[in-house]
Amino acid sequence: MSESVSVPEREGSVEVRHAFFGRLRRRSVAILFVLPAALTLLAITIFPLIYELRLVFMSWELTTNAPPKFVGLQNLITVLFKDERFWASMRVTATLIVFGVAIQLALGTGLALLLNRLGRWRTSLVSLFLIPVMIAPVVAGFQFRMIYHDQFGPLNYLIEQVTFGHWRGFAWIADPKVALFSILMTDVWQWTPFLMLIVLAGLQSIPQELYEAAEVDGASSWQTFWRITAPLLLPVIVIGILIRAMDSFKLFDIIYLVTGGGPGNVTETISFYTYLQGFKFFSLGYTAAMAFIQLIVITVIAQIFLRFQKRGRGEI
């Protein structure tokens, strides 16, 4: 009697212990697997960040040989309230984000709608369109430097031909009135296919039955677009816009190659200005302060992006 009771008890405790150690092993395996990546990321993001945060409150000019000095909030105050060039570069960046993403979205959506109607040619065409996205921005910048060249470039030649020699085009890079536009078009060239790709993926994920039902109900194609296509595309489009906004905020390579921030500083983005402060003027504390401000802006956009991704999972 006593045995028959104790045996299942013992078995039970063995099971419990087994499950306990099983779970422990699972947990330790789980953590062990993550550890190398987590440590790497910690070491090369958090550590430099702390280092940089310390710099924010220092004045450290490499050019003067003076030792680093604690200055409190001085750097941040100067950047935010006294540095007009900082705000100018913020305006340039904002212009590029707003107009760049808007044009890319409009063109990309248009192309995606056309491609979506295509049959077997679609995949090969999409791949060809995607080439600009996959090539190095510096090389793209070089291509446009040739195209924009005011004497030998094909763009001004084309303009001259189209206007029958009445107009010989612009000095696309040297003219302060159009330089920013030239940068914008380079960015549009490189990234429109990206938004096209995303919108196309969104279009293809819309169930065909919805369109069939709309047709049965006698909806016009205009109604179908605004009542079915547009609302279902919205989440995908928002993700695309946010990714592009974050990337445009960091725009550097094209500026470096095409205009170098000039003429004057009409095409100087915030990334480019930070680079100048840090690696041309060597004001380390000041650079750190600007870097942190950018970090905050990016974090805000990234949070919105992550929020969207958390919510949108499974829906797309």
Partner: protein, 279 residues
């Protein structure tokens, strides 16, 4: 889809062809320039088709000053850095991705923290990395760029692979565990082989991002290490631009990108959105 009228078809074709010309032209122009002589690329009206397609610009570019091996060095350094970054981030990234997918390690917030490190502005990371690398005498080495690129590659790899593991049914691994397989065995011998296509796609994306990277290469190197993305702008500017030679280097620099755009068709959407949109 509704059937198109022939008019609509015509419009579609015309617009798509125009768009194709627009998006291909800069690449084609660089391709043509890479075969032109100086007299051809400095001429007005511009010469479109070079007289002969000789590879002289390519040979010149490979043996550029300062030390007579400009292009070769760029090719070598770009290959070393992009390959090493890819290997490192796929090795440790696949482990982490598996753990995040199967054990939900650290919960959703931990996964999102990893993803957010990807969005870091490189210019903000460049200054502290520069000072730290200077301190430990790592500036101007391959290792410095491999480390810097891994920061941006690793979150991408983890996040993308996590998506592939998420889609894999767990039954096979459970069966392997019951048969006495260790967790490591279930990962390495069961799960990993099953996500091979995803793994390859992820590795190729990681490679191309490191290959195309410019800012770290610009800031963390001097003479010893010069990637292809560094050589292109270093030859632009000044009064004399060697367009033919730069175009040749540019062509070499974009070949992997073009190949991948054609090869990775199925994974482009996922790779370029870090899995935020499933293609």
């Amino acid at each position: 889809m509704r059937r198109m009228s022939s008019f609509q078809k015509l419009i579609t074709v015309v617009v798509l062809v125009a768009a194709l010309v627009f998006f291909m032209f800069p690449v084609v122009w660089m391709f043509l320039t890479s075969f032109k002589t100086e007299a051809e690329y400095f001429s007005y009206p511009p010469v479109f088709i070079p007289e002969d397609f000789s590879f002289r610009n390519y040979f010149n570019a490979m043996a550029f000053p300062p030390d007579g091996r400009g292009g070769i060095q760029g090719l070598r350094d770009s290959l070393i850095i992009a390959s090493a970054t890819t290997v490192v981030s796929v090795l440790i990234g696949s482990l982490a991705a598996y753990s995040l997918s199967r054990f939900k390690t650290g919960g959703e917030n931990f996964s999102f923290w990893i993803l957010s490190t990807r969005m870091f502005p490189p210019v903000a990371a460049a200054l502290p990395l520069f000072l730290i690398f200077k301190e430990i005498k790592l500036l101007d080495s391959h290792l410095a760029l491999i480390i810097a690129n891994t920061v941006f590659s690793l979150p991408f790899v983890i996040w993308l692979l996590k998506g592939f593991f998420d889609e894999l049914p767990t039954e096979l691994e459970e069966a392997a565990l019951i048969d006495g397989c260790s967790h490591w065995g279930a990962f390495a011998r069961v799960a990993l082989p099953l996500v091979t296509p995803g793994l390859v796609a992820t590795a190729l994306f990681s490679f191309i991002f490191a290959w195309n990277e410019f800012m770290f290469a610009l800031l963390l190197t001097r003479r010893n290490v010069r990637t292809l993305t560094i050589i292109v702008p270093s030859l632009v500017g000044g009064h004399e631009i060697l367009w033919g030679e730069i175009a040749a280097i540019g062509m070499v620099a974009i070949i992997p990108g073009i190949l991948l755009a054609l090869l990775l068709q199925r994974y482009l959407v996922r790779g370029l959105t870090m899995g935020a949109v499933k293609g």
